[in-house]
């Protein structure tokens, strides 16, 4: 009886979660994969089985390559700003020198996280406006009018303008996660380092970085998967344009499904995004070897 209870009660507790996960995550995942073998429109009453045709087209689709490279750019830049720079920022904020202003700065950095992405995109739409936008006005003010361009309308600059906005919004969140991790580091480690005469850089590299390794892994995972799935920012700011210059995989999937009505192909793109995200996550888990040395 005790043996049975031991197994049944915990199972009952997790059953709702398993059920909800199954209904809202795993079933749609399988259904999406199934849909990618059909050619259909939301208007058509029937679906036509086409086998791997959508995946074959995926290999020839030039937009997929542009979109994937944009996602990679997104991931690399986000890694630099949201993981590396955020860690440095968190360390500075936790330093004795900044103890008085740190709470105020933390709030300032965290505010963008709480604002809806649609509002932020609208705000940045004004900032990037080629005629009266803040950015170009600022560049002109400091004598760099040569650098003033229509940021969202320039085929080279548009994707970087979109990425820059994301960094501004997300850095506060990642910084807060690092701050929590840094606060958990035993103080005596730093005190010992002080006695040994270690400088700030040495303490950062030898104590802070190894001690926040787990958080760094979580943040890397959030950043990379986020970069692979990014949708709102490019969709609202540029809709993937001009041309396809700021297209990302998710926007392409959305365009194929809900604008061009190629539901089967959109499902294939969604499957590709899922596969890429899963692969990146697995590589990260493997490379970081997280959990093993704990």
């Amino acid at each position: 009886m005790i043996f049975r209870k031991k197994h049944v009660i915990p199972t009952l507790f997790i059953l709702p979660s398993i059920l909800l996960l199954g209904i809202f995550i795993y079933f749609p995942l399988v259904q999406n994969f199934y849909n990618s073998f059909f050619d259909f429109s939301v208007f058509s009453p029937t679906k036509e089985y086409v086998g791997f045709a959508a995946f074959e087209y995926l290999l020839q689709d030039k937009v997929i390559v542009i979109a994937f490279l944009n996602n990679i750019k997104y991931a690399v830049i986000s890694m630099v700003f949201q993981v590396a720079f955020a860690l440095i920022l968190a360390t500075i904020l936790e330093d004795k020198l900044f103890r008085k202003v740190a709470p105020a700065l933390r709030i300032i950095y965290f505010i963008p996280v709480m604002i809806s992405i649609s509002v932020i995109a609208l705000l940045f739409g004004f900032i990037y406006n080629p005629q009266m936008g803040l950015l170009n006005s600022f560049l002109e003010l400091i004598g760099l009018e040569n650098l003033a361009i229509p940021w969202l309308g320039n085929a080279t600059a548009s994707i970087y303008a979109v990425i820059a906005m994301s960094q501004w919004q997300s850095i506060g969140f990642i910084t807060m996660l690092f701050i929590v991790a840094i606060q958990k580091i035993p103080k005596d480690l730093y005190e010992a380092a002080d006695i040994d005469g270690a400088g700030k850089v040495r303490k950062f590299l030898s104590i802070t970085v190894p001690q926040v390794k787990e958080t760094m892994f979580v943040n890397t995972l959030i950043t990379i998967t986020g970069a692979m799935l990014v949708f709102n920012e490019p969709y609202i700011l540029t809709n993937g344009g001009p041309g396809f210059s700021s297209m990302t995989l998710s926007v392409h999937m959305y365009q194929q499904g809900f604008v061009k009505d190629n539901m089967g192909y959109a499902s294939a793109v969604a499957t590709l995004i899922f596969a890429l995200t899963a692969i990146f996550a697995l590589i990260q888990i493997k490379v970081s070897g997280t959990g093993k040395d704990e």
Partner: protein
């Protein structure tokens, strides 16, 4: 003990919920008649149209106490997306707004749209008031699926004062138009023709008009049909080159702004020429005091197409197959002469109901535009509604790339031809 108490509490809750549901039903049928609910979906959550429709809904419900209208509205692009989701999920509203041509045709292909032939023939008093020529975009295989309501056309709006100051005549040919743009540049307007190219539909409106001028109508007819399209005619390259030339007068600001921003620039007198819909006349007048004139897309010498057609298509109302008869009554109410007259007076948008656009409810500019629409030798549909959306998208994004110098007309056409082949399968 807990178990003993728990059961009655659950029962009590259950009974309360059931009673509440029942009370709701009783309220609905208080006047003795069964209440009919109609789902109404339109695409004007903005003013003044939102209030206009809210008021009309209220009026209809007052006159028909057994009818309850549930209204929902979202803007343009969201509307296109939401209606697709509603069709696919079998939750199509009873009455909703729809663009004509391929947009309507796609909806009809779902087999969930009501054919209105019988509704039209059984009430001649009402249907004879709707201008016949506007039915075309809603009629497929001799079945009419939509009632046209608003009519529209696209023309170059120009700032009369700037043209007069610089002694520039209103152009009637494309060459004269280019000459006028050059002279405007000389007069200090660095970007005499601006457009919000982030809105790809704005590009489609340009391309539709240009192709109509340069490509033979029989070729267009063949290419606009998904089953026979090839897009091999040299006229398309010429057309894209014309668009490319026009974007050179737009400056690099155009790919970074939307049409609304461009309209504001025109309304504030910063831009002398803008390609706009007649539906925008009131919006321009509300921005500033620019004296506006307009001219149709000019003739293109050596163009093999129609030189005098007007780009534009009506928008109208559709019903779902399962809509109750009260929804048909509501449709007739919305498209009655009285409602249409008030609508144009409030909104400034022209409509397809005979006698509902007069000098009493619109100003001279709108009346001139209305005459232009009614007298047009033929109409060219909005390009993104005329061709398959995959083809339109290549042209529209290609148009953006032409403006930013990323591609050539030949490359765009190559991609279009490949897509046309694929669509035929």
């Amino acid at each position: 003990m807990k178990k003993v108490l728990g059961l009655p509490i659950i029962l009590l809750l259950f009974i309360t919920i059931l009673t509440a549901c029942n009370a709701d039903k009783e309220n609905e049928s208080a006047n003795g008649e069964e209440t009919v609910e109609i789902d109404f979906f339109h695409r004007w959550p903005n003013e003044p149209r939102k209030s206009f429709y809210d008021e009309k809904i209220k009026q209809f419900m007052d006159e028909n106490p057994n009818v309850k209208i549930n209204v929902d509205s979202v803007l343009n692009d969201s509307y296109k997306e939401k209606i697709k989701v509603l069709v696919s999920s079998d939750k199509l509203p009873d009455i909703f707004t729809a663009w004509s041509d391929s947009f309507a045709e796609n909806l009809v292909s779902s087999e969930k749209i009501m054919s209105l032939n019988e509704v039209i023939s059984s009430d001649a008093d009402w249907s004879s008031k709707i201008i016949d020529s506007q039915y075309g975009g809603f009629t497929f295989d001799e079945e009419t699926y939509g009632i046209p309501f608003t009519v529209d056309g696209k023309a170059f709006f120009y700032n009369k004062a700037i043209f007069e100051e610089n002694n520039i005549a209103v152009p009637s040919t494309y060459d004269e138009f280019i000459e006028a743009l050059d002279r405007l540049q000389e007069a200090g307007y660095k970007e005499p023709l601006v457009e919000g190219l982030t809105n790809t539909w704005a590009i489609s409106h340009y391309l539709g008009s240009i192709f109509d001028r340069v490509v033979d109508p029989s070729v267009l007819e063949k290419d606009y049909n998904q089953n026979t399209s090839e897009f091999t005619d040299a006229g398309y390259v010429t057309g894209l080159e014309i668009f490319q030339e026009l974007t050179s007068y737009m400056g690099d600001v155009s790919t970074a702004i939307d049409h609304e921003a461009a309209r504001n620039m025109f309304g504030n007198g910063e831009v002398p020429v803008l390609y706009m819909q007649f539906a925008e006349i009131k919006m321009v007048e509300d921005i500033g005091d620019v004296e506006i004139g307009f001219f149709n897309f000019p003739e293109v010498s050596n163009g093999k197409g129609n030189q005098t057609s007007l780009t534009g298509a009506p928008e109208g109302w559709m019903l779902s197959k399962t809509a109750p008869k009260e929804a048909i009554e509501f449709l007739k109410f919305l498209t009655s002469e009285e409602t249409a007259f008030e609508f144009t007076k409030t909104d400034g948008q022209l409509n397809a109901i005979k006698g509902a656009v007069t000098s009493e409810n619109v100003n001279a500019n709108s009346l001139e535009a209305y005459d232009l629409i009614m007298e047009a030798s033929s109409t060219a549909p909005w390009f993104d509604n005329a061709v398959n959306i995959n083809i339109a998208d290549i042209f529209m994004r290609g148009g953006q790339e032409l403006a930013t110098g990323q591609t050539t007309p030949e490359d765009i056409l190559k991609a279009v031809q490949q897509e046309a082949e694929k669509l035929k399968k």
